[in-house]
């Protein structure tokens, strides 16, 4: 989510930032595993967060937010591969996610939408509307905390009735709430003149 600021990355246009992060993500994902790769990637992330002007506390917040992802990825790989291999793979993913977060932290969503819509412009000849795809992406960002809120409501409703949390009894009401929300959002878009 965007954080206001005046650092170098805030002043850089959305398009070049997106392209740079995509190139870096590709390079980090495809490069052969080595200690140099990990050290270079860590330095890149550190430098990037210092350039935002948001500093190390923001990097810490982002890392803390990834704790469950790290756990879910690290444990099975450590069991079935080896700990060093698991650490390298997980580090690659964490670095890519942290780099992507640099873009969203320093770019207003409307600038991101415009950049994505411009990049997808050539798809118009295939009757794809780039503005719709860009809008869909920004609405996805908006909707993530809403769906998380629904999940909390369902869990609390089950706990209030003393029902143990079961996957099916959790997923079905969550899906119903998400679908209802998507209907409401469609109405809100229509009411605001977006068809």
């Amino acid at each position: 989510m965007y954080r206001p600021g005046g650092g170098l990355l805030h002043r850089t246009p959305a398009g070049p930032k997106l392209l740079t992060v995509m190139a870096l993500a590709l390079a980090i994902s495809l490069a052969p595993a080595s200690p140099w790769l990990l050290a270079g990637a860590a330095a890149l992330v550190l430098g990037g967060y210092l350039l935002t002007g948001l500093g190390l506390p923001e990097l810490g917040r982002q890392l803390w937010g990834l704790r469950w992802l790290v756990l879910v990825m690290l444990v099975p790989q450590a069991v079935f591969l080896s700990l060093p291999a698991a650490a390298v793979n997980v580090t690659r993913v964490v670095v890519v996610v942290l780099l992507a977060a640099l873009v969203t932290l320093t770019t207003r969503t409307e600038d991101l939408i415009d950049a994505i819509a411009r990049a997808l412009g050539p798809l118009r000849r295939f009757r794809v509307n780039p503005n719709r795809i860009a809008l869909m992406l920004s609405m996805t960002i908006t909707t993530v905390p809403v769906i998380a809120g629904f999940a909390t409501q369902v869990r609390e409703a089950q706990r209030a009735r003393g029902v143990p949390v079961q996957p099916l009894a959790f997923v079905v009401p969550l899906l119903v709430m998400a679908l209802k929300h998507s209907d409401d959002l469609a109405d809100a878009l229509t009411a605001r003149g977006i068809d």
């Binding site: 989510m1 965007y2 954080r3 206001p4 207003r108 969503t109 409307e110 920004s138 609405m139 960002i141 908006t142 905390p145 809403v146 809120g149 929300h181 409401d184 959002l185 109405d187 809100a188 878009l189 229509t190 009411a191 605001r192 003149g193 068809d195």
Partner: protein, 228 residues
């Protein structure tokens, strides 16, 4: 521009079930309250005003525009505030959500920025401009929804139970804005008799039929008497 809301023999059916029956009505009051029991057809009535629902039979004219045939024109003219503030936030941050309402109107970035800044100031949301919209309180979200509607400068605002999710203080704040401060024509669907009596006219629907219309205090009194 006319401020008439005109319904001529309008019926609405969903899956063969009539939710609004043979409604003929002409209104030009500035503040119009719509009351009635749950499922009485009042939200359907409100939704027809900006084309979210189209009549199965009959004809609707909103300020001279037919919402079924000219949906884009009517949505430029009519703003809609839903009861659930969470479901009307489109963009991630407060300022972006308000700015979203001005997209596609041929305004420059500077103009959009200036209008958004002024609108946020008017609604007391300036300090939240760059905050994630979903982190606002319920009252602030509803103010954001109103702000996003009014920045388009509609001639008519339709509010479907706008205080349903709010506490007493926030309800008063939203009601004061809608009923006392906002210059636009207003259609407000509400279960709150205190809001209804502050309007210029009240309509009451039951089972899809307009059963009462007139002075809000009298319409509300008859409704409450029947509910006892």
């Amino acid at each position: 521009m006319s401020t008439d809301l005109h319904f001529e023999n309008v019926s609405v059916e969903f899956a063969g079930r009539a939710v609004l029956r043979d409604l003929s009505l002409k209104l030009d009051e500035r503040r119009i309250a719509v009351i009635g029991s749950n499922g009485s057809g009042k939200s359907t009535f409100a939704r027809m005003l900006n084309g979210l629902v189209t009549p199965t039979r009959g004809e609707v004219r909103v300020h001279g525009i037919d919402p079924a045939r000219q949906p884009k024109q009517v949505r430029r003219r009519v703003g809609f505030v839903f009861s659930n503030p969470d479901a009307q936030i489109i963009m991630p941050t407060v300022a972006e959500d308000v700015a979203f309402s001005l997209r596609g109107q041929g305004l420059s970035r500077t103009e959009i920025q200036a209008r958004v800044t002024a609108a946020l100031d008017r609604f007391g949301l300036t300090e939240h401009a760059d905050a994630p919209a979903q982190t606002l309180s319920g009252g602030q979200k509803q103010l954001l929804a109103l702000c996003a509607v009014l920045i388009r400068e509609p001639g008519l605002v339709v509010a479907d139970e706008p205080t349903a999710y709010l506490d007493a203080a926030n309800s008063r704040r939203i009601a004061r804005f809608l009923l006392d401060e906002m210059p636009q024509q207003l259609v407000i669907v509400t279960h709150d008799p205190r809001l209804a009596v502050r309007c210029d006219v009240a309509l009451r629907f039951e089972e899809g039929v307009l059963v009462d219309r007139g002075d809000p205090a009298a319409v509300v009194a008859r409704y409450e008497e029947e509910q006892l």
